[in-house]
Amino acid sequence: MAWTWFHRLASPPHIYRTAGRLTPWLAWPAALLIVAGLIGGLYLAPPDYQQGDGYRIMYVHAPSAWLSLMVYTIMAVAGGIGLIWRMKVAHAVAAASAPIGASFTLATLVTGSLWGKPMWGTYWAWDPRLTSELILFFMYLGYMGLRAAFEDVQRADRISAVLAVVGLVDVPIVHYSVVWWNSLHQGPSVMYLGKPTMPPSMLVPLLIMFLGFTLFFGAVLMMRLRGEVLLRERTATWVREAIRT
């Protein structure tokens, strides 16, 4: 049966070991890519003809924003899988993702507002993207708050998974309603270099950063995942072996 390999793959000891083995393979490329992206973005890329060197905030802001959304999606999908197939490992992925996603959402907000000051003349404008990002941050806080409210890990896993799935349905609605709202109020919206013809010297470092941040998330996720998997095991003998090292 196809299910046997699937279950073996998703078994806590296998995940624990694989995550441990995978961590350096994600962490080192992430570090290299981020350093390369930094050199490319901060040093090699030319200044923007409108925003000068201020646009260079994009190289950390945009990948953070990407992570904030991607991680929420992963969290909700993992939670949904855990809910349907009662897979502890999936819940562990969701639990491990939440703080990472929340912290990058916060980074997005701070870098966005730092970018906003030279562009708009104010640290905070009710720009649709930043506003959606702020709401996303509240959703992360709610998710983690709900998790923390339950002492029993199993129940916290299942309850928060329901919230994450509901949130996943709601995130696009919130986003489009906020964009719609903003279009009525003619808010400032020059945040992104939305031009399709970004020169390669600008674009390549950005793409490198996207990849680097994603791998970084993968590495941190693997580390947290090992901890979360251990927290969910009670008597398994493999834990004895695993913690000896």
Binding site: A149, F150, R155, V162, V166, S177, V178
Partner: protein, 245 residues
Amino acid sequence: MNEIAAQAPTEPLLMSQSRHAPSSLAVARLMLLRDLKLASRKASQLVQPLAFFAIVITLFPLAVTPELPKLRHIAPGVVWAAALLSSLLALEFLFRDDAQDGTLEQYALSGRSLTGLLVAKTAAHWLLTGLPLALMAPLAGAALGIPNAALPGVLASVTVGTVTLSLIGAVGAALTLGVRRAGALLSLLTLPLEIPVLIFGARAMKLAIAAQPYGAPLTLLAGLAVLGVTLAPLAVSAAVRINLE
């Protein structure tokens, strides 16, 4: 002592659900009637969110300005923010009483669709809190200087919007059913999800005040309500089941 001599049972044990079970519609009706009857026996719980709504509305003329033309300008925001907050207040007793006295558990074990029963409960909740709120909204609007011609628009937007508020609120109430002092957490969970309602609702009201057609945002509000009716009950029953564990 009462005469309780062994009397032969009048009917055989029901070995299957079959023909003895009332229809789903009858069950939903029974549940609705039950909640209405219960509410009628403790009316103070119903009055409190309405009083809260009135007080919040009263704060704004005192805090901002008593000049009606200026109040009219912020009226949509004030009415909607107050509606959101008072609907939140009313959520506390949506499932909690039934969970505490064990009746919710009995419904979960009744062999009937828990989703259906909870939809009926949510409908009762809307009738008892959402609808009165909607009926009060034109009064509040008039007090804030909204012209009489715009009051039907106020009524329509709050009526449609509170349906979604009740549904999202039911999800929040179900998620936090097992949490002791859930007030702050409940608002952190539900308010971000309710932002689209706020945006479309306030927009519809604003257009109504400006004597412009407000059909578009009202349609969007109705769309949210339809989406809520189809998806929220699933999340509610999943969350209730997990919290009953």
